[in-house]
């Protein structure tokens, strides 16, 4: 279809045909241009993060940034507590949401011809449309006071509250990915399972889940990526203290919240450096998640 090989381009064909061939070339170039811009955007984002964070490495400040203490007024700019915070929060949210997501898929599958099952799936689909800031907002006025009064300790802005809120945020991502895998099961497999006398739950557990093991793993990876990348829930309810949390009632600060907090205040150049280093770590995490998903999507070797 390439215009370069278009037989009408250089022959004595009618002018209207030549015009059409020229238009094909033009369209093709314009579409390619648009695609190139999208590709350039990615390169630009990575390029900027590198451009602003690499000087730190070459000027020997990497050691100051990859340290355990963040006290900007005393000259300590370590971001490792935020790395730990991001990981703790993301894994705990995944730990809470993943089993619920798997259970929910089992329920929806066994009830798929029943209004309840369809209702649950519809609600989960709509949950993807809830703005993150609204999750954070409701959590501040609903969950935070509850945690504060139940545990009678701290302010309620803590790891536990943020983890619970974040788990609701990533639940639809997990459910919808597993569900798309369950939908791909062939009618032959289903018939065979039913003919063997499997109940819907047995069918999901012993036939479909083992078949969709890569999909199950992909759901966990995608849920983790979504949890690490979220800014607003962590920023609004996690308390944002730059420390290593040891108890679920401790406040913590994630990398995403760190970027937002530091740039919201006027800061020195080393503080900016820590922001771009945080950005680079987040980018690397997103890229790793993406690569893992690609491997899981590819047909098994």
């Amino acid at each position: 279809m390439a215009s370069g090989q278009n037989p009408l381009a250089d022959t004595g064909a009618a002018p209207s045909l030549r015009r059409a061939a020229r238009r094909e070339t033009l369209v093709r170039t314009a579409l390619l241009g648009a695609t190139l811009i999208s590709g350039l955007a990615i390169c630009a984002i990575l390029g900027f993060l590198l451009y602003f964070s690499l000087p730190l490495v070459f000027q020997g400040q990497a050691g100051e940034i990859l340290a355990w203490r963040w006290r900007p007024f005393q000259g300590d700019f370590g971001i490792l507590p935020m790395v730990v915070g991001s990981l703790l929060l993301a894994f705990s949210a995944l730990f809470l949401a993943y089993p619920v997501g798997v259970g929910l898929c089992g329920f929806a599958f066994s009830q798929q011809h029943h209004p309840w099952g369809r209702l649950v799936l519809a609600v989960v689909r709509l949950m993807t449309g809830v703005p993150t800031v609204v999750y954070g907002f409701v959590s501040v006025f609903l969950l935070v006071p509850l945690v504060r009064t139940w545990f009678e300790q701290g302010t309620g802005f803590c790891w536990l509250t943020a983890g619970l809120t974040l788990s609701i945020l990533i639940l639809p991502t997990i459910v919808l990915l597993i569900w798309s895998q369950l939908e791909q099961t062939t009618p032959e497999t289903r018939l065979a399972a039913i003919a063997l006398g499997f109940t819907p739950s047995q069918e999901v557990l012993w036939v479909h889940f083992p078949q969709a093991s890569r999909g199950l793993a992909a759901a966990a990876v995608l849920g983790f990526g979504r949890a690490v990348g979220d800014t607003l829930v962590a920023l609004m309810v996690a308390g944002n203290a730059p420390q290593i949390s040891t108890s679920p009632l401790d406040a913590l600060r994630t990398l995403t919240a760190h970027i937002a907090l530091v740039l919201a205040t006027d800061s020195t150049s080393l503080a900016y450096g820590s922001v771009f280093a945080s950005g680079l770590i987040l980018f690397a995490t997103a890229a790793a998640v993406n690569l893992a998903l690609r491997r899981l999507k590819a047909p098994p070797p």
Partner: protein, 297 residues
């Protein structure tokens, strides 16, 4: 043992569904009760008269109006930037690209889709830092920069939905057009794009919803509390999601808190209805093609 496990799984499934529906119910109920009480004209226009605000003769002091306008401008501008670019890229990837470039661009688009939104904001912020150091010392964050970064954020959604919609069409459609003597472009404009229009439209709606709700991007690229309606593309501005975030931490009076609940309910209704519309369109496509016999060429 197996029997116990699958029995347990059944109960666990019911429990998971119950817990999730309960959580969503409490969440929506809480926001609905608190937010509905605040929904009235004063929420939008403060003490000013609605007509005068709409005509632009009086600023809406203390109302949500500037935030609504800010969000509207953001969505319009970022759509203007992202929709043509996204649809064009989607068409290219679905119909024109050869396998090598297609794989490469596909990877780039997937990567862009997975990048946390705060990094788009950081990108905009870094762009301003760079411009200040080099050619434009007076460069500052503002409406256009935010819209540009939001456009980057929604671009992968548009590309992927356009590409999927075109690739999901029956091959007979493609062959029918070519056999009538259409050039690839005529085939695209007169047959393929109309057939894929619902899928593409659902992608556009998703992108608009995403641009309206995102807070992290605008947080770093020029949103400020209590800005009036923006007068130019480089002005600072305020927007609904940021207003909610700001009031959650900084409300001083019960009135401001009520306003925050009203704003949160409005934003939820806006994005939820946009997403529902997109899903509806999508489900419609599945129905439409369900009974079309596919004859492989």
């Amino acid at each position: 043992m197996h029997r116990c496990l699958s029995f347990g799984f059944t109960w666990f499934g019911w429990l998971a569904a119950l817990v999730t529906m309960g959580a969503v119910g409490i969440f929506v109920g809480f926001l609905g009760i608190k937010g509905l009480a605040a929904l009235n004209l004063r929420l939008f226009f403060g003490e000013a008269s609605p007509w005068q605000v709409l005509l632009g003769t009086q600023p809406a002091v203390g109302g949500l109006w500037p935030a609504c306008l800010g969000t509207l401008y953001l969505v319009l501008l970022s759509s203007l930037l992202a929709i043509p670019l996204g649809i064009a890229s989607g068409i290219y990837l679905a119909r024109y690209a050869s396998p090598g470039p297609k794989r490469l661009f596909g990877f780039a688009v997937d990567l862009l889709a997975g990048i946390p939104s705060i990094l788009m904001g950081l990108f905009g912020f870094a762009l301003i830092l760079l411009l200040r150091k080099t050619i434009l010392p007076q460069a500052n964050t503002g409406l256009l920069l935010s819209a540009g970064c939001l456009a980057l954020l929604v671009l992968p959604y548009l590309i992927l939905t356009t590409q999927t919609a075109l690739e999901g069409l029956s091959p007979t459609l493609h062959v029918a057009g070519l056999s009538l003597g259409f050039t690839p472009w005529q085939n695209l404009v007169h047959i393929l794009l109309p057939a894929a229009s619902r899928g593409i439209l659902s992608g556009v709606i998703l992108a608009v919803g995403r641009a309206a709700e995102d807070t992290a991007v605008i947080l770093l690229t020029g949103v400020v509390a209590n800005a009036g309606a923006p007068q130019s593309l480089t002005d600072k501005f305020t927007a609904l999601p940021f207003h909610i975030y700001y009031l959650a931490a900084e409300h001083r009076t019960a009135d401001e808190l009520a306003q925050a609940f009203g704003a949160a309910l409005m934003l939820l209704l806006l994005t939820a209805s946009l997403y529902a519309l997109a899903y509806g369109l999508h489900a419609g496509i599945a129905k439409k093609w369900e009974h079309t016999p596919i004859i492989r060429p």
